[in-house]
């Protein structure tokens, strides 16, 4: 029995999760409900089995997530019996921050980035585990697996430590915290393959289905609730779409697709490598998930 690349990536991720649990006082797993988080959570369950992961999950809820995401999150948490903390920036809610009126930049900053900071600070979390991958875009290729943040959660590229063998230096200076990315060496295909191999449930939004769609600024937006007010001339049309990345519904563009099974979704992704038609149709995961991560305030 020769170990496959996926076996080795899995072993590496589990090693990192255990090293994090052993080295920090109050780690937390940033659970964003998407496919990478799904794999990450599965690995965390596996790493500490038969015990539960020795850290809670944290979901930063912007209040604008797809309803299906929230339903999926609650079902997953109930099934696995893990400790989920949901954080909402109440100050933002009071100010009525919305992606529709304030724009995506302000909304993301207040409801994601600041909210994440609040949650990490109030939970006194010294390590936050996330699902980012190096292959998501060129600039992540040099990222460490353990990324240091100063007291102000700022990242100083010059102050990162060399990572040798699997000997991670997890020592923190006063006020520092760390972000940990166990899936750093996974590619998008690896993530889908792992989901396929282990039959992991993912949010149904990844699969094509007729959904109520409004076209705005060239994006196909799903009208998930009536906070999304139609502008003159806009109308809701039922279209068969799916999502490549999941975030706040007014900011997530859908793609038209017939891929209603996992295999078809993977097929679409594979064809995006070679076929121009598909390449145009499906926006890049590269930029898509980077956008997502930025929104998540990971970087």
């Amino acid at each position: 029995m020769q170990l496959t690349h996926l076996d080795i990536l899995e072993a590496e991720a589990i090693h990192i999760l255990r090293e994090t649990a052993a080295s920090f006082e109050r780690p937390v797993l940033m659970y964003s409900i998407g496919k990478d988080s799904t794999v990450l959570l599965h690995l965390a369950m596996k790493a500490f089995w038969p015990a539960k992961p020795p850290f809670p999950l944290l979901h930063v809820d912007t209040t604008w997530k797809f309803r299906e995401m929230i339903a999926f999150r609650d079902a997953a948490v109930a099934k696995l019996g893990v400790d989920l903390r949901v954080h909402i920036n109440q100050e933002g809610v009071r100010q009525g921050i919305s992606p529709l009126t304030h724009g995506s930049k302000v909304h993301t900053d207040v409801m994601k980035t600041q909210a994440l900071r609040q949650a990490l600070e109030s939970g006194k979390h010294d390590a936050a585990i996330g699902g980012a991958r190096r292959d998501e875009e060129k600039s992540r290729a040099k990222e460490r697996i353990f990324i240091f943040r100063d007291r102000n959660h700022r990242w100083d590229p010059k102050n990162q430590r060399p990572e040798l063998w699997n000997l991670y230096n997890t020592r923190l200076n006063e006020g520092e915290s760390i972000r940990v990315f166990p899936l750093s060496n996974w590619t998008e295909l690896d993530v889908w393959l792992y989901i396929h191999r282990h039959n992991l449930p993912v949010v149904p939004l990844y699969f094509a289905k007729p959904r109520p769609i409004v076209e705005r600024n060239g994006m196909l937006i799903m009208r998930d609730d009536d906070r999304f007010v139609l502008k003159p001339g806009e109308k809701v049309v039922e279209r068969k779409v799916r999502f490549r990345t999941l975030g706040c519904y007014p900011l997530s563009g859908a793609v038209e697709s017939d891929a209603d099974t996992l295999e078809k979704v993977i097929e679409e992704m594979l064809l995006a490598h070679t076929s121009e038609r598909q390449g145009r149709l499906i926006d890049h995961d590269q930029s898509g998930s980077m956008e997502e991560k930025k929104r998540e305030g990971y970087f």
Binding site: L3, H5, R161, N169, N173, I266, E267, H273, E276
Partner: protein
């Protein structure tokens, strides 16, 4: 073969194939402008790793920023925009990913700037193979030699020179052979077994992914084929079992599991093990896994991450090493070590200072008791010193506060590698490779070699009335030992005798020492345990040394499955007059190439 998905093909079949891929991690290094970025871009491009519109973007960028007069400049795939490049804030290892129908690859792309030592050591610590770029016009440079030295220091077993820009030297075989032999010689000198050189043009792609027509004289494989075929031993079946304990899982009173990543070897339920450094003995009860995941494992191997439970309630916690049981195969335990270090901190190392040392999952204070020397990586000369500065490579003695379980790095990387952490700044100050420890109960097998190497017991030299020079003059050769090793059936003996005939026909004085011959007489008393195989190799090496001192070329063909024993053979004979070839490796040089290498070296 590329791993492309054809429209209309079966996804499940594709996934099934991809799922079985092995993993190879390799690094790329070279001086600025040797073509490293172009080579990587070429690998990613030709294996279908680039999206169409990504490619479009690069085509457009090429017109503006490219160095190829508007033609597609594949370096831009990895380098990003020129402007970005020129800012170049972080000079760091970049990781890149691609796959073929046989393997998945992770490239550790090590930049060749002033920080090369630190970067390359970092990259190399994750890799099984190194590709060093050589510009065919400039040939082997100081930088090339540094790369080979660092690769050997970090124990990378496969080193490939991509002799690039062959299109600019009209694909001249003469030029290539010149570079090849200089490179191979140097690799042998620093103890790299079976180095390979490939003539390529990253620009045109010839011999990167596919063969071309310009180098008909080159019979070897293109780069990608080497990457797909080179042996990756994640867990050699003969390697002893080691698992540093990371975490104790204790959900209830009736389950106490020890979680860790297997650093070496394999483990089965029922195996006798020792918990090191305490030395307590027990047996493995389960390699526990949930039923949804397939239930308990009957066997696990490096580098799997597992949970094991023991038969007894032994004391065991994070930092301990679970080791296989049995004399020479167990880990050693010591508090004083001799280590090779790559210094990575702006603040220099000074003797007497205490750092935190992390080995496996154990972190303990450790004091540098002595700085032995610093190696000049260009000349390989050692200089006495009492400090090591950023990017220096040196040897030190260090003493830990607590005893730790370890193995020499050459034997097992996972339990022989350490990092040093500055206690004030928490910086990762050094990467270290343990050479030896003052293990009091080091096994007799090692004692054999050690006694053999002890200078006081060395045979007297200078008594012969025939001088070394006279011998060289008579035989027209410099003495050299060639160890051809590998499992039975790998063709060692055949190759040994072919090589003997080749050398004989060229008029050389050559002797073959074949394992079978030794077993028939000199080593009749030995069986086939690791220890006895090691002793057999020691006897062969001693015999070779005597013959070498008298001017002969000696070909040893032995199974020699244990890397450590081979290294000891190299130390005993003297690495400058010793080379080894792994005959089980499909990429090892054939007899003709071997004959060329040997004649170049002894001529």
């Amino acid at each position: 073969m590329t791993l492309s998905f054809t429209p209309g093909g079966s996804v499940s079949e594709y996934l099934h194939r991809y799922e079985r891929n092995e993993l190879l991690r390799f690094l790329t290094c070279g001086s600025v402008d040797d073509g490293k970025s172009t080579l990587i871009g070429r690998l990613l491009h030709d294996t279908g790793r680039l999206y169409d519109d990504h490619l479009k973007a690069i085509e457009n960028e090429s017109k503006v920023h490219g160095t190829q007069g508007g033609a597609l400049d594949l370096a831009l795939v990895v380098d990003g925009l020129k402007a970005e490049r020129e800012q170049g804030i972080t000079i760091d290892v970049a990781y890149r990913y691609f796959a073929t129908a046989h393997r998945s690859f992770i490239i550790a792309d090590c930049p060749g700037h002033e920080q090369y030592t630190r970067n390359m050591a970092t990259g190399a610590s994750h890799c099984q193979l190194a590709i060093t770029l050589i510009d065919a016009r400039s040939g082997v440079t100081t930088q090339t030699r540094r790369h080979a030295f660092i690769a050997s220091l970090l124990g990378i077993c496969h080193v490939v020179a991509a002799v690039n820009k062959m299109d600019l030297v009209a694909w001249g075989e003469g030029r290539f052979r010149e570079i090849e032999s200089e490179f191979l010689d140097y690799c042998v000198k620093v103890g790299i077994a079976g180095p390979i050189a490939v003539p390529v043009s990253a620009l045109t792609g010839e011999n990167v992914v596919t063969r071309g027509t310009n180098a008909a004289w080159y019979s070897g494989a293109p780069i990608l084929e080497l990457l797909e075929k080179v042996r990756v031993d994640h867990a050699s079946p003969v390697a002893p079992f080691r698992m540093p304990v990371q975490y104790v899982i204790r959900p209830s009173l009736d389950f106490r599991g020890f979680a860790g990543t297997i650093a070496s070897g394999t483990v089965k339920a029922g195996d006798r093990v020792r918990i090191m450094p305490s030395g307590r003995e027990t047996r493995v009860r389960r390699i526990a896994r949930s039923t949804e995941d397939g239930g308990d494992l009957s066997l696990a191997r490096a580098p799997q991450s597992v949970v094991i439970t023991f038969e007894d309630e032994v004391d065991c916690s994070r930092g301990d090493v679970v080791s296989c049981f049995g004399g020479s195969t167990e880990t050693l335990v010591a508090q004083k070590f001799e280590c090779d270090l790559v210094w990575m901190d702006e603040t220099p190392l000074t003797a007497g200072k205490t750092y935190l040392l992390k080995c496996g999952t154990r972190t303990t204070p450790a004091r540098i008791t002595r700085v032995r020397h610093c190696v000049n990586v260009d000349t390989l000369e050692t200089q006495q010193t009492d400090a090591l500065a950023l990017n220096d490579i040196g040897r030190i003695e260090i003493e830990t506060e607590q005893p730790i379980a370890f193995d020499p790095y050459r034997r097992i990387h996972g339990t022989g590698s350490v990092i040093l952490i500055d206690r004030m700044t928490n910086a990762t100050s050094a990467a270290g490779m343990i050479r030896t420890g003052d293990a009091s109960d080091a096994h007799a097998r090692r004692a054999h070699w050690e006694t053999a190497a002890a200078p006081t017991l060395r045979a007297p030299v200078g008594q012969s009335l025939v001088s070394t020079a006279a011998r060289e003059e008579r035989w027209k050769q410099k003495p050299l030992a060639i160890l051809l090793y590998g499992s039975s059936g790998s063709g060692k003996t055949t190759r040994a005798f072919e090589l003997e005939r080749g050398l004989w026909e060229k008029g050389h004085a050559v002797v073959v020492l074949d394992g079978q011959m030794l077993r028939a007489g000199l080593s009749r008393d030995l069986a086939f345990t690791e220890e006895e195989r090691s002793e057999n190799l020691r006897r062969a090496s001693e015999t070779a040394r005597i013959l070498l001192d008298q001017g002969f070329v000696v070909i040893l063909s032995m199974v020699a499955p244990h890397a450590e024993a081979r290294w000891r053979a190299s130390d005993l004979i003297g690495s400058e007059r010793f080379m080894m070839i792994d005959c089980s490796d499909n990429n090892s040089p054939d007899t003709a190439a071997l004959l060329r290498m040997v004649t170049a070296k002894i001529g």
